[in-house]
């Protein structure tokens, strides 16, 4: 499941929550993950819907949305995001298949532990990047 945040508008298209969401999407909020998924509630008009989507909302729901509808909306968004996510990545000689958790290096099968796989999956997910120790050390104590 992806990380979701929720905001309630309740008819106010100029709500500060949307400004915050735009800042998040623009990368203007320090230490915040700009790709965090946003659920916006209280979207009761077309103009509010347009504003919310333009601001970066991933799910928009009306004020009358029941708990079941909110859960269904979030699950639907999560499913769409999973489908859209690239399952394999390659950087240099390293190829990582996330779906089957397999790694090849220079075309040869490469056996890894779970944590080693997670490390290689992380470092191959973005081209030409140096990963800080803190980024990679998160979770190293779990295995």
């Amino acid at each position: 499941m992806h990380t979701f945040v929720a905001a309630g508008l309740y008819g106010v298209a100029s709500a500060p929550e949307l400004e915050l969401l735009r800042d998040l999407r623009n990368g203007d909020i320090q230490h915040a993950e700009r790709s965090t998924k946003a659920v916006v509630l209280g979207v009761d008009s077309e103009s509010t819907a347009i504003t919310a989507l333009s601001s970066g909302a991933d799910v928009i729901l009306p004020s009358s949305a029941s708990e079941s509808l909110i859960v269904a909306g979030v699950r639907n968004a999560d499913r769409r995001l999973r489908i859209g996510r690239r399952q394999t990545s390659q950087l240099g000689d390293i190829a990582v298949d996330r779906e089957f958790r397999q790694v090849t290096v220079a075309g040869k099968s490469f056996t890894t532990t779970n944590r080693e796989f997670d490390l290689l999956a992380a470092v191959t997910s973005e081209n030409r990047r140096v990963w800080s120790r803190n980024e990679l050390a998160m979770g190293c104590g779990d295995h």
Binding site: L91, G92, F110, S132, E135, A137
Partner: protein
């Protein structure tokens, strides 16, 4: 956090040892002791970013 950092070094060291045993070069480079990059993809262009 210090334990995690040591564990990270151990994991990466093992990865590089496995690669060497397969006749390959190291998979990950330690960059100035502050971070890691895939050896074949490292670029001096990114060394100043956020470390």
């Amino acid at each position: 956090m210090a334990d995690n950092s040591r564990a990270l070094d151990t994991h990466i060291s093992r990865l590089n040892i496995k690669a060497r045993e397969m006749g390959l070069g190291p998979l990950l480079d330690n960059v100035w002791g502050k971070g890691y990059a895939v050896s074949t993809a490292r670029s001096d262009q990114n060394l100043g970013l956020g470390l």
